[in-house]
């Protein structure tokens, strides 16, 4: 696909890099979002190198409930975890859960939605029936039962967490993609593409998909957030990887030990800050992608 450049640019075009940079200057959301994300990844990666998170992020590594100090820059929690190490590991783990589940959700949802919307007929009927049936069942019932029956309690990892969280992540996307495709596929450019020799899959990916990008981006952000939220819910129910210092577990422990009421502010602040940064970066990237993906928006700016 061509990433649109300035339509009124002279025929002699500047280098690709210059153009990208020039574009980025006009899209601060994307830049800030990506920078934030890079910061988080860097925090996790560099932190993992500098700190032995395999011991310091777990109980009994430090004295209990220490406010931030030179030795423990972010303080410690009641079980003696070093919160700096917890945040380093937690950002990575939580990000991984969100990305995995979000990716599975968006990919499955998009594929299913496209199939239903594009081919219609019995494919659509079956998929609609399936999604509609699954959507009507309270998600918590599904998740708890999946988590408590299928998942081996002794080996609850972030992967199984992501798996459980993605069980339902695809359906919303599927339904909305279907609705969009129903509307898009009536457009003449689909006929034109077929006349140009495109196959069904190619039409889906090259013609329809790009038009869905802003939505898919938003949906992906939603799916990642939803997955993080779902994992938080499972963690709250004791169905998560209880030992792992994910952000959700950290908040869970803080809530359990009434950290707010006990005024152990550092125990609440850091994980919340981490979540906010994660979500903010996703939201900003999402907004940036809107502009990148939709030439009409660019025209107006």
């Amino acid at each position: 696909m061509e990433l649109a450049l300035d339509p009124h640019a002279p025929v002699t075009q500047p280098s690709q890099l210059t153009l990208v940079l020039r574009y980025l200057r006009r899209n601060p959301s994307l830049v800030v979002g990506v920078l934030l994300l890079l910061f988080l990844v860097g925090f996790g990666a560099i932190g993992s190198l500098l700190i032995d998170t395999s011991t310091r992020a777990y109980p009994l590594a430090a004295p209990p409930v220490q406010p931030p100090s030179a030795q423990y820059p972010l303080g410690t929690d009641r079980d003696g975890r070093d919160l700096l190490a917890v945040m380093v590991r937690g950002v990575l783990l939580t990000g991984a859960v969100g990305l995995m589940a979000g990716t599975v959700g968006i990919v499955v949802g998009t594929v299913v939605g496209f199939l239903a919307g594009y081919f219609g007929g019995w494919v659509d009927a079956v998929i609609r029936w399936l999604t509609e049936v699954l959507m009507t069942i309270p998600p918590l019932v599904l998740q708890v039962i999946v988590a408590s029956t299928i998942v081996d309690k002794n080996k609850v990892t972030i992967f199984t967490m992501a798996g459980v969280a993605s069980v339902l992540a695809w359906m919303g996307t599927a339904r909305m993609v279907r609705a969009q495709v129903l509307s898009l596929r009536e457009r003449a450019f689909v006929s034109m593409a077929r006349l140009s020799g495109m196959g069904d899959l190619e039409i889906i990916f090259r013609e329809l998909m790009p038009n869905m990008l802003p939505y898919l981006a938003a949906s992906f952000v939603g799916a990642v957030m939803g997955a993080i939220g779902a994992s938080f819910g499972l963690e709250a129910l004791g169905l998560g990887p209880v030992r792992e210092p994910t952000i959700g577990m950290t908040i869970r422990w803080a809530v359990y030990h009434s950290a707010i009421f006990n005024q152990w502010w550092w125990w609440v602040l850091w994980p919340v800050l981490a979540l906010i940064l994660i979500f903010a970066s996703l939201a900003l990237i999402n907004r940036g992608l809107d502009e990148l993906a939709n030439p009409r928006v660019r025209r107006t700016e």
Binding site: Y58, R78, G238, V242, W253, Y256, S258
Partner: protein
């Protein structure tokens, strides 16, 4: 009635199997309130539905005479009639005791289940105020308090118990409480296997006689020196209340009736219950006041409100919205005390801010399941646990770890002191990774590359099953300690944790002992082989996760069962039993359980404390009426 509501009835058909039970199949007539409530669902007006009122008993203690309807009136149980709106009388705050306890997710779902024989019944959320036993027992005062009974005497060989009933006791409908009611209660427990005390009573009791209105004679199958205490006395959460024969006999199935707000009872309160609150108002006409048995308390109303979240409960008590609430985590109770000078605990405003409950926790295992069937492995786990660190991290430095499966009560102290030194000599409670390693090697384990013990290519599955609400304090710390000792530990706080314990699946079970109070027998009985079902077959009873099977141990327990508490012969038997318990490390004793209950003295004083230990302070126990009678309104 049903027609009025457009025929939309959500009343379930009576369970068919009930009819087979030989209980006379009378038409269900006790659905008045639930029927109305359910019909509200059908009638649309969303919010209005719940607010629309309906039929309800008046607050007056004396039930109106049943109006003549098509249905044959049942004595003591008012038939269906339109519910008048309930008007609570005005009771000032300083005459109202508000406690925050129970519920599920911030609401009661068992409101209106006031029949103690329904499995949905919960005495903890105030219903203990409705029902009365023959005897109460206060562990801190170490005192039996005769209630509906005046006295209860065993014969010499503990095969017969003669009970004299108190004169003047009455049910709330004015019918006297007599020996017939006691006989009915016990007989029903023997006959009806859907009742939770059925097995114990049926096993012990041969016959119940009521020769006159005030005398009950219970004849036992074998010497039962603990029957009066364990079954007939209400203390903590155990024992049975006496139920009204003339009412219960009318029921088509004594477990299938909720009871509702107007169930005939003998206690000194009446109740009105909704999912949001259970209101208990003092009965002016309670028999105890009329007979001069008790003086009227200052408390005129008890309000029980459900707990949503621990922190919110703490904030409510700090803000003087409630007077007492559930027991708390160590750090939380300290914050609560610090934030409101009017709040005290059992130990005043000093650590440990609570008292020892009867529920010491162990790490249990299924002793029939390899590799846990090897005592060396159980010992190795015990040796890998640093109990001082637990005290420091989990309990603010208060020593709560223990080597006993017993609460350290005054009643039990003589026994425990007798064996304490033996336990310590054996190394119970010691922390030594070296000794732990020796034990593991002896059991045939080697360490793998990651430092975990392995045998036949299998690591030890040391998943700790527990309950987040009560064990999240200690479980994460234990996991870390066990991992350092080479056990691949993790936590399962999942919804299936209890089921896994019951099924005897691999792993460690963090759980308490609901055992002894006045002598060591009851706890030891938990390890008797009669409750040692093989894995997967379920457990024979409560807290019997060990499935321990040792004929020698059984002999000791059997011998103790016929010796009355306090008898000197118990000491020697206890020593032998503890040698086996510790030697085999049947379970790994861990911590004493503390009740850290905040008492707010803004409105109410004379709470039970260390200085004034007339009762254990858990208001959710059966002894709640004793607490209510003792509380004094603050000046």
């Amino acid at each position: 009635m049903k027609k009025e509501w457009g025929g939309l009835v959500f009343e379930p058909a009576p369970l068919t199997d009930l009819d087979k039970r030989g209980v006379e199949a009378v038409k269900p007539r006790f659905t008045r309130r639930q029927l109305l409530r359910a019909s509200a669902l059908a009638s649309l007006g969303a919010l209005a539905a719940a607010c629309g009122g309906g039929a309800s008993p008046e607050q007056s203690a004396q039930p109106e005479p049943a109006p003549t309807e098509a249905l044959e009136p049942i004595p003591g149980v008012p038939s269906e009639r339109p519910r008048a709106p309930i008007n609570l009388k005005e009771v000032p705050r300083n005459r109202t005791l508000i406690v925050n306890y129970g519920g599920a997710g911030g609401q009661f779902t068992n409101q209106g289940i006031t029949n103690p024989w329904a499995i949905g019944f919960n005495h903890q959320e105030g219903n203990a105020l409705l029902w009365e036993p023959l005897f109460y027992y206060s562990v801190f005062a170490n005192r039996e308090i005769p209630w509906l009974a005046e006295s209860g005497e065993y014969n010499e060989d503990y095969t017969e118990l003669t009970i004299k009933m108190r004169q003047g006791a009455e049910w709330s409908d004015g019918v006297p409480v007599t020996s017939a009611d006691v006989k009915y209660t016990l007989d029903t427990l023997i006959e009806n296997d859907a009742l939770s005390y059925h097995a114990q009573v049926a096993e012990a009791v041969k016959e119940v006689q009521a020769p006159d209105e005030r005398t009950v004679i219970i004849k036992f199958n074998k010497p039962s020196p603990r029957f009066k205490f364990e079954i007939l006395s209400l203390k903590f959460d155990t024992g049975i209340p006496i139920l009204p024969k003339h009412v219960m006999e009318q029921m088509y199935d004594v477990v299938a009736v909720p009871g509702d707000d107007d169930m005939v009872h003998s206690g000194m309160f009446n109740t009105v219950q909704t999912p949001q609150q259970k209101v208990f108002d003092l009965r002016e006409d309670w028999w105890g006041f009329k007979t001069g048995f008790q003086k009227k308390p200052d408390v005129e109303r008890v309000l029980v409100i459900p707990i949503s979240d621990m922190t919110t409960a703490a904030q409510r008590v700090v803000n003087n919205e409630v007077d007492a609430t559930i027991d708390m985590r160590p750090s939380l109770i300290r914050s609560v005390v610090e934030q409101n000078p009017k709040i005290i605990t059992h130990t005043g405003r000093q650590e440990p801010l609570g008292y020892v409950d009867w529920w010491p926790n162990s790490l249990w295992v299924n002793t029939q399941l390899p590799p846990y069937n090897n005592p060396d492995l159980r010992w190795a786990i015990s040796l890998a646990i640093d109990r001082d660190t637990i005290d420091r991290f989990a309990f603010n430095g208060v020593k709560l770890t223990t080597i006993f499966p017993y609460p350290e009560y005054e009643t039990l102290k003589p026994y425990l002191d007798r064996v304490r030194a033996r336990g310590e000599a054996l190394g119970v409670g010691r922390f030594s990774l070296e000794e732990s390693a020796v034990r593991m090697q002896r059991a045939g384990f080697t360490k793998d590359a990651e430092g975990f013990w392995v045998k036949d290519g299998q690591r030890v599955n040391a998943t700790i099953h527990g309950f987040e609400v009560i064990h999240a304090d200690i479980a994460p710390i234990l996991v870390e300690m066990l991992r350092r000792g080479g056990f691949e530990a993790s936590v399962n706080f999942g919804t299936d944790a209890f089921q896994r314990m019951v099924d005897g699946q691999p792993g460690l079970y963090l759980y308490g002992h609901g055992g002894s109070l006045i002598d060591p027998y009851a706890t030891l009985e938990l390890y008797h082989s009669r409750s040692s079902q093989p894995t997967q077959a379920g457990i024979g009873g409560s807290n019997r996760f060990s499935r321990y099977n040792n004929p020698e141990f059984d002999r000791l327990v059997d011998e103790m069962s016929v010796i009355p508490p306090g008898d000197a012969r118990l000491f020697a038997l206890f020593e032998k039993a503890m040698d086996i318990y510790w030697g085999e490390m049947i379970d790994v004793p861990l911590i004493q359980w503390l009740h850290r209950i905040p008492y707010n003295t803004t409105y109410w004083t004379n709470w039970p404390t260390q200085e004034n230990p007339y009762l254990n302070g858990a208001f959710w126990h059966y002894t709640f009426p004793l607490l209510v009678l003792n509380l004094r309104a603050a000046a």
